[in-house]
Symmetry: C2
Subunit: 219 residues, 2 copies
């Protein structure tokens, strides 16, 4: 009896998270209320979000965390593979560690993914961006990647490198959100589209990071 109730609660939480992600992506995170999510998730009780998650920001945090935990897992595998190899990865190899876990995660969800659009909003909303930052800081595999990139760009001043990596982060999010939106509207097979996006991003990010820096920009 208790076990059944536990399973039901898990099912309800899943339904709420999936519904919230879709509504947020379609209508905007701020525009959608906890009450609307509860209703759209088929919960008779309009306070279901509050009961299962607490505040709307806690629900958002739970959605972000679930995706990021999966992305972090495949990123760690890629990093371990590079670290096990004798030869260094080079900048392009470390860039792949940043790009592929994200695009492959989205490809695995398929045509009905909402996460890239949702995630972009979280990171641009003044009240919510801290949730995204917390998750990034909690991803241990990013350490070796940043170290590998630093080693591959020895001539770049530290502050230029830091700012370029920030550019890369927003570029990844924006491009994936744009692709996700286009994919939802087109008949293109998701796996091929995401593989193509991954190549586009790896090329562009590698070029961006390896570009020579005009001396003044180091000040």
């Amino acid at each position: 009896m208790v076990a059944t109730r536990g399973r039901q609660a898990v099912g309800t939480k899943e339904a709420i998270m999936a519904t919230a992600e879709r509504l947020f992506a379609e209508h905007g995170v701020t525009a959608v209320s906890s009450r609307q999510i509860s209703e759209a998730a088929g919960q008779g009780n309009n306070a279901a979000v509050g009961y299962h998650f607490g505040a709307k920001s806690d629900l958002i945090r739970a959605i972000v965390h679930r995706h990021d935990a999966q992305i972090e897992q495949s990123r760690r595998l890629l990093v371990e593979r590079i670290e096990a190899a004798d030869a260094g990865a080079g900048v392009r190899g470390w860039v792949e560690c940043l790009v592929l876990p994200l695009t492959e995660h989205l490809a695995a969800i398929g045509r009905t993914s909402w996460y890239a659009r949702f995630s972009l909003q979280i990171s641009t909303d003044p009240a919510l961006r801290e949730i995204a930052t917390d998750e990034v800081l909690a991803a241990p595999s990013l350490g070796p990647i940043l170290q590998g990139l630093r080693a591959g760009m020895p001539d770049l001043p530290e502050d230029v490198r830091r700012e370029r990596l920030q550019m890369v982060r927003s570029m990844l999010m924006h491009t994936c959100a744009d692709r996700e939106r286009a994919l939802a509207a087109s008949g293109e097979p998701p796996k091929a589209a995401w593989a193509r996006t991954a190549t586009l991003l790896v090329d562009a990010v590698t070029g961006l990071l390896l570009a020579p820096a005009t001396p003044e920009s180091g000040f």
Copy 2:
């Protein structure tokens, strides 16, 4: 008498636009209501936004348009200068036409600019992004810039070039919004900070656009 009323109306509209831009940038476009803007702009009448602009989206459109008209003006001057010179600009010269009018516009506003943060939200919000797209399509100076960039990247497949230019657009917006936020919190002189950001962006964008494309990404 009529002239005085006309001037008052212009003053009221200016006050509403300035207040709205700040509140949107600080709290998020969707989180702030027309009523809150009217109140914060010191309007006794809580319906002042509706009276002077119509819907909230019309107010947003007016703010976007005012900035973009100024940015477009200095972009046209840069393009004319390149077109008057005998030598071509090269990719870097055309990239400067994209970057400098924006960073110089923000530098001219100074430490209290909100526009970059506001603008980023408009372009990521599912319900509002069309406003930003309309303005871009209405900027005649972008035509020769895109043509110049295309001529400078003859080996890049058309679809890769298009996607990279989309990446550039979101990178510019994100980086300027980040810089604006940092500037508001720091004591750094705005002119120097924006000049430094411009150099960072021109270097990075040029590297991104000129990066070789892996053949598969052309499909």
